[in-house]
């Protein structure tokens, strides 16, 4: 079970949060083409490694958090506000 350090509420269990998807994606501008919306809505990489994610603290402050989590080890590298420019750590190349 993840334990997430909410910047507003402190360290809380995953059960208080709802996952809201890939935070590295930006909704296309209103004048973008249909294909771009399709890509943004449906296509995901499903990477093994660091991942930027949205988590909404529904059982607490109801604020949206941006989180850097490792999809394999579940390690959480950083938790921030939605507009924080969080980046995923550099990963060592596969041996």
């Amino acid at each position: 079970m993840l334990r997430i350090e909410c910047p507003w509420c402190g360290l809380r269990d995953e059960t208080e949060f709802h996952y809201r998807g890939d935070a590295s994606l930006r909704r296309p501008d209103s004048d973008a083409r249909l294909a771009e919306f399709c890509t943004q809505t449906y296509l995901r990489e499903n990477r093994r490694g660091w991942h930027l994610e949205w988590w909404l603290h529904v059982g607490g402050c109801r604020r949206l958090l941006k989180i850097v989590r490792h999809t394999d080890t579940h390690e959480i590298h950083a938790v921030g506000h939605p507009q924080d420019p969080l980046t995923v750590p550099m990963e060592a190349p596969a041996p």
């Binding site: 079970m1 993840l2 334990r3 269990d13 709802h18 809201r20 935070a23 909704r27 296309p28 209103s30 973008a32 249909l34 919306f37 399709c38 809505t41 449906y42 949205w54 909404l56 529904v58 109801r62 604020r63 949206l64 394999d72 080890t73 579940h74 959480i76 939605p82 507009q83």
Partner: protein
């Protein structure tokens, strides 16, 4: 002495406290402190069950939760509980148990005839053989195979106990798993630094391996006493950590002793959810079996288990046992048995020579080095062993038990769950886990450090490292314990398998043989995980712990690789079987989920309402206890003819305020809200980003920067979360605040041609005329003396108002409205009548807003605004979603007015009866029209209006010819709401 095989005093048993119990109907006697297994062995019971697949006779193999064979049904007042390992089941007075998977009796089992054809039943046999015809698997083969195979039978009747288990949350700096030499030393070291320590032991008392060596008794007792004096160290026996979930969260199952259970009001188990900063695994090692023909005959037991039965319970697992082993460590049992005066039939040591063998010989024990047990003879118990010398030549040995040991493997289940690396260690011929130090450490036999002294020192060292990492200052100097020295040992010789005639098992619980593993390899299942799935090796309650590595080794041999390259199958939670009751804890029955009651719940109940659960809400379904449509139609008719009142407080209500509120709603809703004047309401639809309908409802503009949204009851939390996400992730620069005010406001709908008169009499000073307060008007008002709101909106299709007041004033307004409506025969109406009214009118609920429908499907394409962006705008325009062949909303009525409709009935044409064109989503008898009416989603529905189709419901055996018509079956001009 409570049983002929009880030859002395045990550490855990009380010789003066006999306990009566039953096994397969036989009355037996054990001692307080026994497990069922030790009590059965004390009574000379060797045959305790039949195996999973071949129904072979099986006995007790281990002394712990890794037991593969001795699983029993426990019969109690709450029913029959299957698959309890006899090796962990505490004996209690009056315990009634039965063996499993045998018929008619354990000693004569018809199913064991399968054993005669066993060579025709290799792994994968069922899947290969019972292939065709396809229907036969489900109806014929599987039920028959399931009856023949399997473990216990579940026969639980409802228990009167409100919660047979409880859930407890614990926090600690360090969680230590296993209270053997390493765990005790570590707990003591960490405890003295002031760290909060939890030390969990799966057995009934701490000690682990130190209990099996009398030289360690003083140290173990001294340390346990010292730990009891440390207030920051909690030692919990009978507590097995069953799962590791990352981020320092662990689950442990604590089984209460019979005495504790009585003290805690009958609770049997406690699920502990533990949050710890660091983990220390001192779980010790698990003895391995050796795969040789007949290694499953009752009386074949792990040597370490036999030692545990002798030391803990004073029970001898055999009167004349032989040993088959490959390490000096295993000789400890030989020596203890000799010390207890049990005549040893002989020791078969695969190694050419060893120190321990020499010592055994000096005690007068017959040892045959460089030899292997080729076969065990005996049907229901061990009679004779066939022994092959490595140098050539075979002999036979008479014995009544065979105590085997293939070496010890670190107990690495939890480490495996935490993604530990597994490193091959030649010295123990096993994998040892290595944990990320941020998670914790592994110490003692759990990482392959053999010997109690080595383990104790390793535990103390790990404790020191963890204390330093967590910033705890070194504690007071440890009292100088005298640690007994570990004996010098001759290294073990890896021994996995003895090949010969007959079945040699690597997994006793699933009846997986070495031949099955080789078959898996021949058929291409080379990876250890594939082999596991092909053969079921390592599955079920024991997770194949005593034979897991043996299976890997047999596979490695077949592949021509070293075991270190084949590896172990990943071990997942739970480490041992967890009763569902322990997982459920007190969250059973009404406590399974919260129940939300309306502010007027008590009034509805007193008025005779039947309730229905909508999400978490309890809503009045109809104000009658009787079933049937009469009461529903009576309520609905009151609305159509005069006036009715219903409680809609469970609707979601979201207060939206701020300078950018209108702009934000224009982005959330598919239709326009910026143009909505203050004091007016508008029906709105919102889409998901993929273009499907998310929800609908009415939104009122209470001020220039103030809106109130209503959502459907079922979707209220989904919509709120959707809006919060969009606001914070996509529109962070919008100056808007969202507040969920669902619980703050009670809201009632007053509907019917006389509703204006009723509302007027409670809304003082509000002109409700069409000119001053037209359809879709919204206003603040004083209602029965309470500051509230009035909305002229209608779900029923009649002239209607919705009145809202703060929830605490609900009863005051409700009773005022009932009094005002008395002259018009006002009737409260429930959800069924509400549904009848909205179906006639063609309004939507969750049945139509089912996540697969678009605005176009539901006839609301024209509401989508053409200018400006909104959620779902782009993807709603996908050509496929605008296909005229999509399921579209229509109304349906039976041609024969006496026939009824069914929700879920499929719509077909007679020429193609097996092709569904759509289905009925909602249906009701009508109050205004004759017979039944319904709504349906129909392929190309709008094109089919006026046509006839067949509605068929095969499960009801009903077929009805229906006319397809507009979903707005009454008042399509919408004149009544404007009356």
């Amino acid at each position: 002495m409570s049983g002929p095989s009880r030859i002395g005093a045990g550490l855990w048993t009380r010789p003066d406290e006999p306990v009566e119990f039953r096994f397969d109907g036989q009355a037996l006697r054990g001692l307080r402190g026994d497990t069922l297994a030790s009590a059965l062995l004390a009574n000379g019971v060797q045959l305790v069950g039949r195996s999973f697949k071949y129904h072979r006779p099986r006995g007790i193999v281990t002394a712990g939760p890794e037991e593969p064979c001795a699983l029993v049904d426990v019969l109690g007042p709450d029913g029959r509980e299957p698959n309890r390992p006899a090796t962990t089941l505490p004996l209690r007075e009056g315990l009634i148990t039965e063996s499993q998977n045998r018929w008619p009796s354990l000693h004569f089992d018809v199913g064991s005839l399968g054993n005669l054809v066993a060579r025709f039943l290799p792994a994968g046999f069922y899947y290969k053989t019972f292939m065709a015809p396809g229907w036969a698997w489900e109806r014929l083969y599987e039920p028959a195979i399931r009856r023949a195979a399997g473990l216990g039978r579940l026969g639980l009747t409802a228990t009167d106990h409100p919660s047979p288990a409880e859930t407890v949350h614990d926090h600690a700096d360090v969680l230590i798993v296993g209270a053997g030499a390493a765990g005790l030393a570590a707990a003591h070291g960490l405890g003295r630094t002031g760290a909060r320590v939890m030390l969990l032991e799966q057995d009934a008392a701490p000690g682990g391996g130190t209990l099996l060596d009398r030289r360690w008794q003083a140290w173990q007792q001294g340390l346990s006493a010292a730990l009891a004096g440390l207030h920051n160290v909690r030692c919990l026996p009978r507590s097995c950590v069953v799962g590791a979930y990352g981020h320092g969260v662990y689950a442990a199952l604590e089984t209460l002793s019979p005495e504790e259970s009585i003290a805690f009001g009958g609770i049997r188990e406690r699920l502990r959810i533990i949050r710890a900063r660091r983990l220390l695994l001192t779980t010790g090692a698990i003895e391995r079996l050796i795969a040789f023909p007949g290694n499953d005959v009752p009386g074949v037991m792990l040597a370490g288990a036999a030692l545990a039965y002798l030391r803990r319970y004073g029970v001898a697992a055999g009167g004349h046992p032989a040993f088959f082993l490959n390490s000096d460590e295993a000789y400890q049992t030989v020596f203890e048995f000799a010390a207890a005066g049990i005549a040893c039939a002989g020791v078969i040591d695969v190694r050419p020579e060893s120190r321990a063998a020499d010592h055994a010989r000096s005690l007068g024990i017959r040892v045959q080095c460089g030899a292997m047990v080729e076969r065990v003879e005996g049907a229901r118990s061990v009679r004779r062993l066939r022994i092959a010398s490595l140098a050539g030549g075979a002999t036979a040995l008479e014995a009544d038990a065979l105590l085997m040991s293939g070496g010890y493997s670190p107990a690495s289940a939890l480490a495996s769950q935490l993604g530990a690396k597994h490193l091959w260690q030649e010295s123990i011929a096993a994998f040892a886990p290595l944990l990320d130090p941020h998670i914790g450490r592994v110490a003692g036999a759990a990482r392959g450090r053999c010997g109690l002294k080595v383990a104790a020192l390793d535990g103390a060292a790990a404790a020191e490292s963890i204390a330093a990492e967590l910033g705890f200052a070194a504690g007071a100097v440890s009292p100088a314990w005298e640690l007994p020295a570990d004996a010098e040992q001759t290294p073990l010789t890896p021994l996995w398998e003895v090949r010969g005639r007959g079945k040699a098992f690597v997994d006793l619980q699933n009846d997986v043989t070495t031949a099955d593993v080789r078959l898996a390899h021949r058929e291409g299942y080379e990876h250890v995980e594939h082999m596991k799935r092909y053969t079921t090796h390592g599955m079920a309650t024991d997770q194949g712990r005593i034979g897991g590595l043996v299976g890997s080794a047999v596979l490695a041999q077949a592949r021509g690789l070293p075991v270190s390259e084949v590896g172990l199958a990943k071990i997942r939670p739970y480490v041992q079987p967890l009763p569902f009751a322990a997982l459920a804890g007190p969250e059973t029955g009404q406590h399974f989920k919260p129940r939300r009651r309306l502010p007027l719940h008590d009034w509805h109940e007193a008025a005779g309402a039947s309730f229905v659960s909508i999400g978490l809400w309890l809503r009045p379904l109809v104000y009658a206890r009787e079933t049937g449509w009469d009461a529903v139609l009576r309520e609905a008719r009151a609305v159509r003819r005069s006036v009715g009142i219903t409680d809609v407080s469970s609707l979601g209500k979201i207060d939206v305020q701020g300078p950018d509120a209108a702009r934000f709603l224009d982005y959330i809703y598919a239709n326009n809200f910026a143009t909505l004047p203050v004091g007016r309401a508008r029906y709105g639809i919102m889409l998901r980003e993929d273009g499907m309908m998310l929800d609908d409802g009415t939104t009122s503009r209470l001020g220039a920067e103030h809106f109130l949204i209503t959502t459907t009851t079922a979707n209220s939390s989904v919509v709120l979360e959707h809006m919060e996400f969009q606001l914070q992730a996509v529109c962070p620069h919008h100056d808007v605040l969202l507040s969920d005010v669902s619980d703050q406001w009670a809201q009632f709908a007053i509907a019917g041609p006389r509703s204006r008169e009723v509302v007027a009499s409670v809304a003082s000073g509000l002109d409700l005329s069409n000119a001053a307060f037209p359809f879709m008007a919204a206003s603040a008002a004083l209602l029965a003396g309470v500051a509230g709101r009035v909305f002229r909106i209608s779900f029923s299709g009649e002239l209607a108002f919705e009145l809202a007041v703060p929830a605490a004033h609900a009863l005051r307004l409700w009773t005022a409205l009932l009094a005002a409506g008395q002259a018009f025969g006002i009737a409260p109406y429930g959800l069924d009548a509400l549904n009848t009214l909205r179906i006639e009118k063609g309004h939507l609920t969750g049945a139509e807003l089912n996540g697969n429908t678009t605005a176009d499907d539901l006839g609301m394409e024209r509401m989508l605004k053409s200018k400006g962006d909104f959620v779902g705008r782009m993807l709603a325009q996908r050509p496929g979603l605008r296909s005229p062949e999509r399921l579209q909303l229509v109304g349906v009525r039976p041609i024969d007015r006496s026939q009824r409709l069914r929700n879920g009935a499929q719509l077909i044409v007679p020429e193609a009866p097996s092709r569904s064109l759509g289905y009925i989503t909602s249906s009701t008898p009508s109050v205004e029209l004759e017979g039944w009416v319904g709504l349906a989603l129909l392929a190309g529905g709008r094109e089919r209006m006026g046509k006839h189709l067949i509605a068929t419901s095969p499960i009801h055996g009903e077929t009805t010819t229906v006319a397809i018509l507009s979903p707005h079956m009454i008042d399509p001009e919408n004149s009544r709401v404007r009356a």
